[in-house]
């Protein structure tokens, strides 16, 4: 591939529990407007749009119809990716590298407050065998958390430290929904959702949108002084049925990470990556995904965290934005991670800036117990 793909601007809405003042199109437009202004472009300059939303969450077949007008898709090119938002970046990258498009707008939106989460998530399970068990993603994640904790001797208290770190980080993020000053005791005494996951261990219901503009290398250099290059990207599927895999293992994430690292020329992620934004919908996931991303061996993430590696000021800060725990809707979460990573590399991350960040990692997850992962490596040189 001769050309590189660059992110030229990003936009996010402030994530809130209930944005009943706007509909999906208006919400997405808030983020799109920021991205357009950041790049100095108008909707007419966009060649193609890649949207990310789910029909089930929007309650409307062809949910991208809600936002056709705000992405400028009238008599234009648009495609909807029905996975987590990070995958939309992958899709945009293919369109740009193929030479067929040169300016792509990527936008993800979801209004979780509008829908019944449990019923939607329950519909992801096998209708014949598993749905009747009444599982949704929280209860499935709880099983995964139990398995992980059992296999590697991780305690709920150790998982709770992730919440303390991330929600604390969120205080520096003006977009975050739930910045909090909490202790491990606060987490452990919060309402139990599905053992061992408690309210503060889990992401809240959230409404929001995130948008970014990607272009070919040549255009990126013209549109912005600080393009963020997509150095490596890959995603991967895991098996579906929960019993078919060891839930404490995330092989799909390791596969995706390996491919993304090799594209980006990264051999030692812990050393070479300066900041990581990963999708931790529940506290235990941050630990598991760190292992899957190759930061350390399986079961060792807790030690990495306790040594202060992943906190602000550490060797590899993880989720300086507060992560998904501090409030990101489904679908938007992965794209928001890419946006935050891009802001870090542009030096525009304000109080949550990791100084001198040159290589960042963004990660998105979709599905039951992390069945589908997407890993993106970004750089600014």
């Amino acid at each position: 591939m001769a050309d590189r793909v660059g992110i030229v601007s990003v936009g996010q809405t402030k994530y809130e529990p209930d944005r009943s003042d706007v509909n999906e199109g208006e919400l997405a437009y808030e983020a799109i407007k920021q991205a357009l202004e950041g790049a100095g472009l108008t909707l007419s300059d966009i060649d193609s749009a890649v949207t990310c939303s789910q029909d089930f969450w929007d309650g409307r077949t062809i949910s991208s119809m809600n936002i056709q007008h705000v992405v400028g898709a009238h008599l234009g090119h648009e495609d909807k990716v029905a996975e987590d938002g990070a995958n939309a970046v992958f899709c945009a990258m293919a369109q740009l590298l193929s030479g067929h498009q040169s300016v792509v707008l990527v936008v993800a939106h979801t209004k979780e407050s509008q829908a019944e989460r449990s019923l939607i998530e329950n519909a992801a399970f096998d209708a014949a065998l598993v749905r009747q068990l009444g599982l949704d993603f929280v209860s499935a994640a709880a099983m995964q958390a139990r398995r992980y904790m059992y296999k590697y001797g991780i305690t709920a208290e150790q998982c709770a430290r992730v919440a303390v770190k991330n929600r604390g980080n969120a205080k520096n993020n003006p977009f975050a929904q739930e910045p909090m000053d909490i202790t491990v005791e606060d987490v452990l005494s919060s309402k139990l959702l599905s053992s061992p996951i408690r309210r503060l261990d889990a992401k809240p219901t959230s409404d929001g949108a995130c948008a970014m503009i990607l272009t070919t290398e040549e255009k990126a250099k013209k549109l912005t002084k600080k393009p963020v290059w997509v150095l490596g990207v890959s995603n991967c599927y895991e098996t579906h049925y929960l019993g078919d895999r060891d839930l404490a293992d995330c092989g799909a994430l390791s596969t995706a990470a390996k491919k993304a690292y090799s594209m980006a020329g990264i051999r030692n992620p812990l050393k070479e990556i300066d900041v990581a934004e990963i999708c931790e919908e529940y506290t235990y996931q941050e630990l598991m995904w760190m292992e899957g991303l190759g930061f350390c061996d399986r079961g060792e993430a807790v030690r990495l965290m306790d040594r202060g590696v992943t906190k602000m000021g550490g060797k590899l800060p993880v989720n300086p934005s507060g992560g998904v725990l501090s409030g990101n809707p489904v679908n938007v979460a992965g794209l928001a991670r890419v946006a935050e990573a891009a802001l870090q590399l542009r030096g525009e991350a304000g109080d949550r800036q990791v100084q001198g960040a040159r290589i960042a990692l963004a990660h998105g997850v979709t599905g039951i117990c992390g069945q589908h992962h997407c890993v993106i490596v970004l750089g600014n040189s």
Binding site: M1, S64, A73, D79, V81, S98, Y237, H240, D244
Partner: protein
């Protein structure tokens, strides 16, 4: 320099009204196995899998996850796209971009729908915005009825012409073992005797709801030439969406609005130096939800002048033995698993170019073909296929 993209494997299920014998994953696996066999590849050699499906029809959230193992996506990259009726067209476009960009050498495209699992009309009606649609939406069929009315009034086409299109579709479908509706219709009268669903659309005028899957395997030029002696080149794609027309959904009775079909084919033809459509292209597989729409699409895609679509039908030009065959597979009137239908159009066009369409092979030699996709509200995806680069 972008890679050139070849279609090296084609697989379909035998489409049917109901498939109680399989669940979604098993049904798709049939098509996947057929495509792998066609390409003489093992599932290990597939580098990525891209899926197309409208999940509201079966009420299954994240269907591509549910079939990750059966489809061969386990441990591999991929994602699902979802853009309504054009979903299958969009996924072919995405696969095209993925291989053209060099990100993958081999990509598998899967389109499927199992419509016996849900209420299709309700799901299509749910495409209307819930904030505005109350009481005014009529499902796809009401919209196509209006489109048919407009076409009748502006072009002078008669119900007999529509019946001729239906007969052609059925004649062709009866020679296509994969088609769903193979009715053995014999005469125009038979079509005209069937009852009206929504005037002027009769039961036979509208596409069925089918269960089926269609899989394509795409490869870069270098890989394609290694895999098969007869790759079919996917030369170009064009995707155009729009906001709904003010006065209609699939048809604009005012005659003032711009159609995505025009924009899409004009861009595609210009990029590929197509100036005399029926000479530069040999065959078309169009996505026609109703027979009236097929005649209208002939005009939209510049197969003929405006208002003359029904003349092509009258003169037999679009028959299998004709000068410009359209829908030798029986088209959407015979088979319509919504997520798969646009992929089937590309697959059938590719089979024609390869000369592998068996009994429903067009009489003339097909070197260049166009496959179209239609979705709500009047979105278009076009694919251009060629035998040689």
């Amino acid at each position: 320099m972008p890679n050139r993209v070849g279609i090296v494997g084609i697989g379909q299920t035998y489409h049917a009204a109901r498939r109680p014998d399989v669940n979604q994953a098993e049904m798709v696996a049939e098509a996947v196995r057929a495509a792998l066999e066609d390409a003489q590849l093992s599932v290990k050699e597939i580098e990525s899998v891209f899926t197309a499906n409208m999940e509201t029809f079966e009420a299954i959230y994240l269907p591509d996850h549910g079939m990750a193992s059966e489809v061969g996506a386990l441990g591999k990259p991929g994602f699902k796209v979802n853009t309504g009726g054009t979903t299958g067209g969009s996924v072919v476009a995405e696969g095209f971009y993925m291989v053209a960009s060099g990100l993958f050498e081999v990509a598998m495209i899967v389109g499927f729908e199992k419509q016996d699992c849900g209420d299709t009309t309700a799901a299509i009606s749910a495409a209307a915005t819930p904030l505005w649609g109350k009481g005014a939406t009529t499902g796809a069929i009401g919209e196509f009825a209006k489109q048919a009315l407009s076409y009748m009034e502006t072009s002078g086409a008669t119900e007999e012409h529509a019946a001729m299109v239906r007969l052609k579709a059925d004649r062709n479908a009866c020679k296509n073992p994969h088609a769903h509706l193979r009715l053995g219709l014999q005469s125009i009268d038979e079509v005209l005797k069937s009852g009206y669903l929504v005037w002027p659309l009769r039961i036979l005028d509208f596409c069925p709801q089918s269960c089926g899957a269609c899989v394509l395997i795409l490869a870069s030029e270098k890989k394609a030439k290694q895999i098969t002696k007869k790759p079919v080149w996917l030369v170009d794609v064009e995707v155009v969406h729009q906001e709904p027309f003010r006065a209609g959904v699939f048809g604009d009775p005012t005659g003032k609005e711009t159609y995505t079909q025009h924009v899409a084919c004009e861009r595609l033809y210009k990029r590929n130096s197509i100036t005399n459509v029926r000479k530069d292209i040999d065959l078309a597989e169009v996505y026609e939800p109703s027979n009236w729409e097929e005649m209208n699409l002939y005009e939209h895609f510049h197969f003929c002048e405006k208002g003359d679509g029904w003349k092509l039908v009258e003169k037999g030009i679009t028959e299998m033995e004709g000068e410009f065959p359209v829908n030798c597979s029986g088209g959407v009137l015979a088979t319509n698993p919504i997520g798969a239908t646009p992929v089937i159009r590309v697959a059938e066009a590719a089979l024609q170019i390869r000369g592998d369409a068996g009994e429903h092979q067009a009489t003339k030699d097909i070197k260049t073909a166009i496959a179209t996709a239609l979705g709500g509200p009047n979105w278009t995806v076009l694919s251009l296929l060629k035998r040689s680069l």
